[in-house]
Every structure is written in C-alpha cells, then in structure tokens.
Symmetry: C2
Subunit: 380 residues, 2 copies
Amino acid sequence: MNPRLDEIAPSLIRALHARKRPGDVDFSLGEPTLRPDPRPFDAATAWVREHGCPYTPNAGSTDLRGLIAGYHAYPGMADAGNVCVTVGSEEAIYLAIKTLLDPATDEALVVEPAYLAYPKLCALEGVRTRSVALAAAEGFRPNAAAVLGALRPETRMVVLASPCNPTGRVWPQAELRALADGLAARRGLPIWVLSDEVYRELYFTTAPPVSMASLYPHTVVAGSVSKSNALTGLRLGWLLGPAEVVAQAVKVHALVNTAASTFADRVAVELFRDPASLAAHRPLYAERRGVLLGLLTRHDVPHVEPEGAFYCMVCLPDALSGNSLAAAERLLEEKRVIAVPGTAFGPSGEGWLRLSWVAAADDLERGIARIAEFFAESGG
Amino acid sequence: MNPRLDEIAPSLIRALHARKRPGDVDFSLGEPTLRPDPRPFDAATAWVREHGCPYTPNAGSTDLRGLIAGYHAYPGMADAGNVCVTVGSEEAIYLAIKTLLDPATDEALVVEPAYLAYPKLCALEGVRTRSVALAAAEGFRPNAAAVLGALRPETRMVVLASPCNPTGRVWPQAELRALADGLAARRGLPIWVLSDEVYRELYFTTAPPVSMASLYPHTVVAGSVSKSNALTGLRLGWLLGPAEVVAQAVKVHALVNTAASTFADRVAVELFRDPASLAAHRPLYAERRGVLLGLLTRHDVPHVEPEGAFYCMVCLPDALSGNSLAAAERLLEEKRVIAVPGTAFGPSGEGWLRLSWVAAADDLERGIARIAEFFAESGG
C-alpha cells in the first residue's frame, strides 16, 4: 500500500454532510442547485448519433481548446496549444502540481483560507506545502505583501483562488500587480502561480475578476464549466498555461485518464460557441446574494461580504470562536443547520463558518434566522 | 518541473499515426470503428433534464456500482463497495498502481508484450517495474510458470491483461489457477494481481474469459464500456476489488478528479440494466475476425490467432525481424499501411507487428494484401 494515503485526512465537509437529516437546512454544498440548460446535451447526443463516441485527442478537441483559449484571451495563452481539457478543474489542479513541482526540492505555498484539495493533492504527490494566512481581521482581504513575505528559496508555486472558496474574496488588480512584480523581481528559478478560477464567472464586483495570467507569465489557470453552468457532474474543465507546460501536463493527463469525455467536450463546445451562456446564471446568484446579505444584516450576523463565488464566511461569537468544528456540530444538532467549520480551509479559518448560499430563498430565511438564534444563545 | 516526466517516452503509436495520409490503410487504431447505440444517451439526457447534472458520490452512483459488481459477480467483490467508477479503465489502472504500491519498496512485474501505459504509469509514480516475456515462439501463450519464475521478494504486483492487447491471447483457467496457487504459496506480504479486463466482452473462445479475480483474492480488476460498446470517448470505467482497497483508491480518485461524469454514469446504468447490450457488438467482431483470418491464411502471413480483443500479431519475415519499428515505417512509406511495431509493447514484441482489425472489410482486404506484398518483397 502507498503510505501517503494514510496521511490524507477524510473530508470534514462530507463527514458533516453524512449527518444530514430530512428537513435540515444545508449550507454545506459546494455545487449549484440550479438546473443546467439541457440543449447542449441534446446537441451533443445528436453529434454522437452522427459521429459515434470516439476518443478526442488526449488534450481535448482542437475546437474546444481553441474556443477556451480564445475566450480567456490571456497574453501568451490564446491558442489551442495553451489548453488541456481536463476532468473538471480538480484534475487541472492535480496536473499543475504534478507537472510543475519536483517533490525532491520544491515547495508549494497555499494562500489560506483555501480549498483543502490543494494541500491534500500536494501530500498525495509528496510535495511539501506551507500556507500563508490572509488576515481574518481584514475579512481575508487578498494581500500581496503577506504572500511575498512568506516565500522561501524552495517555494516554486503559489496557489491562490479568485474568486475564492471559502472567503468569496476577489483579488483586486492592484494586489495581483504587486504580487506579480514581487515574484518577477526574485532571482533564480521562476515561481509559478496556480490561479484557481473555477468561480471566474460568478462575480458581484463591477468589473470581472482580473486573472494573474494577465499580469504574470508564469501562471497556470484551472477552470471549468462546473459552477458557471451548474454542470459539476459533467466533469469538464481545463488547464490553461504556457504551451510548453501544457505539453508536459498532457503527458500526465494521457497516462492518468487518456482524455476527458468526448460527450462533455461537445457540450462545452456548445457553451463556448455562445459565451453568453457562461454568464447566464450570474444574475440568479446576484439576486440570491442580495437576499443573503439582507438577512445577515437584519439578524446582525457578522460576515465577509462575498465579491464572487457562492460562499459567505460568518464570524462566530467569542464564546464559540475557539472551536469552529464544535460550533458547526452544535449548530447541526441544536438548530438543524449544516455549515462548514472554517478550519476545513486551514487554521486561519478558525472562528468562522462557511455558508454556501445556493439554497432556496426560504431555506436562506430559515437558516440564517436559526444561526442568529444559535449565536445569541451562545452569548454572541 | 517534475523530472519524472522527462523519463516518459512519447507514444510510438501516436507518432506513427501522425504520419497518416488520406487513403492510407490504418491498422493502428485502439478503438472500435462501430457506432454506439445512441439510446442510452437519450435516456441520460432525459435524466439530466429532470435532475440536473450534480456530482455523483466520489466513487460513482450506488446504482451503477451495484450493477457493475453484480454483473461481474466475482467472489468477495459482489457489492457496490467493491467498485469505484473511474474515468475509463486507464484511470482504474492508475488508481491500482497508485494505491497498492509503495514506491520506496515495491516493484511491479508486467507480463509482456503489454499495453505500454503500465510501465509508463509506474514510472510516473516512481514505482520500479520489470517485465516477464511470454514466448514469441509459442505465440505469446499465457504461462504461469514464466511469471512465477520472474517474481522477486520486492514484487508486490503482477500486471496482466486477458484478453490481451496486443497479443489477442486469453489466459486459460488452468494457467490462471497455476498462477493463483503459486502466488498464494508465497510467504510474506501478498502479491497483488492487476487484471486488465477492458476487452473482457470481446472473446472468440467457446467460453467467456475467466478472471483472476475468480481464483485469487488479491486481485483488482480494471474494466470499462469503451471497447464492448464502442464508447471510448465516454470515459466510463471501473476498478473492482476488495472493499478496503477500493476505499483507499477512492481517496486518490476524489483528489485527482473528484468523480467520473454523472452523464456517463447514467449511460452506463442504462447499459448494465440490460447486460445483453454489453455483448451486442461481439458477433460483429467475430465476423470481422473471420475475414481477417481468411485473408492472413490466403496470403500466407504468419500470425497469432486472436482469442479476444481486436488485435492480431503478425510475424515479420527474417529480413525485417530485427527492427519492427523500421519495418513499420517502411510499410507506411512504401505501402501506405499503418501497423504498430511490436516493440511498442516491450522488447518481447520485436519481430512482430500489431494489426488492429476493426477496419472495414475492404480495408482489411487491401491492407493484408499490401502487407503480404511487402513481406514478399522483403524476402519473407
């Protein structure tokens, strides 16, 4: 047996979720509750009827690779050769870590609070990780200086997400610019940035999020249609990066699962041929976010206003803030509300709960009221 | 960069394939040219219309896992918990290697000639491999004694395929029994058998192939609907094994790509609910095989009669037998026929070419005639 598997902790979120009972309000989901547009599925089925369902090339169809690259239009990454179509953004993250890092010498620096698959994937690959925490007191504001200050000579990758799961924060252009400048100024081998942009289409700022890939050439991007189009189960994502990195990543991809699904590739071709479809769900999320923020304000629940994604970090009252896992367990037992303890996203999440607000409006209403009640009863 | 990627040689098959010109006869394909039944796609699309396209559980839907386990009905592996639904059998092979072997101490023994992803995946994971060759003089006959004689104390996995790509051989029950007995008689940690059964449904023997999983408890099986149902592009496979092994493999699977496609899961549920659909293409292959064997006999081309899969090893004449790669290149340049050099499947394949006989009957006719001509001109 591979001894590394023993080091991988089971998912806290799935463990909590397993205790869900009928009628519980579930704020733990990491996927949309919206329904996807079925028309791309009809089109893909018609395609299979005509062409069968053969393999795509390992890196995906040239059509789709070109469409994805052209849609993002990141400098130096605008061609099909800059894209590997993957099994969701999860595989893209895996490929980036597996391709770019040498376990013998390299370290990854994860910007926290963060999706816990980053350090777990590094552990699976034998790559050392450290994390750098964004300050809870500043609402987890993205902070280039903090990241730059945490670099070590062996750091070869910085992992960040914008919009961020779990904080909902978006990296502002100025902070990304400062990070790019700081990284570019370092001597020696380049430090890669893995920019997780799986929530790219779900933003509530005036302008769309800026990508680190627009500012810094040593960037690789993980993305997918999972969240933008309520297609988590389609497993269609991409790794976008310099062509020579993508070519190496395709070697790993080809060995690990040959190629992504031809059917999913065709569904995604339909979506990218009409890029407006990638933004179609944004207004629904914006409306739901408005409901959420109204409720949090009305019930006086301290929180970080989400700029993107569909999560919101709420701050535990002092009496509960030392143990967010215990707080989440009590919230579930006493109030039948499932929220994810902040520590599921690293130590810097202690004192917080992550709410996923894709739930229906009346669930939001009931759930936030119960959370407020729970906080009040706990001396919040 | 991960230095292991430099060790992974590019695919010889893809390199040859890239030189294909219009009108060439292509015997290099590793996938069916048949069309899949589109009805399961219609059913899956209807399901998405009703339910959306959310994630399945990491290991696949309980429905599908139960159906797959029940269909195979291997002893001790007949429940949903014995199945992880994967992105094709390729991912199942990856999961088996990644889960069961400790790169620090363990070695895998590959039974050759073999699908070259086995040693490449081991190289990617830092696992040492050796190979044991089945004798070309005996038509690559499966041979338990040869495998048992090649074991070393550090061998923790034997990798075999039945039906075999590239030889078309099926392991007879008596040889599997001898292998099982020999492995069981060894002291110390168990030696795992990775049984690649991706061609399980395509057999031309009287009885279906016997699985090592029926005879030896330390077996894990890789399978998929890719070949049986002409669905290579669906990327739907499975790892079947003891529940505790599958549980560990699911950890890797969850991190590397979260889950297989929900859509593909639904397509596969349709297929397994009507198991006859898994055998539907077999008569077509049997007929094509008859055409092939007739042509090879008529043109006096020495070959190994395929018992399964859709490949046939043909023996190069003496003048060409020292360099199957050069022979394949000349065959392509001089006769416009693409065949895969035997060395693509390990050193034991030297002196042979692999023909994939999924081509249309008139392509078979033209291609075999040209091969015979080429052999004759080369002094065969």
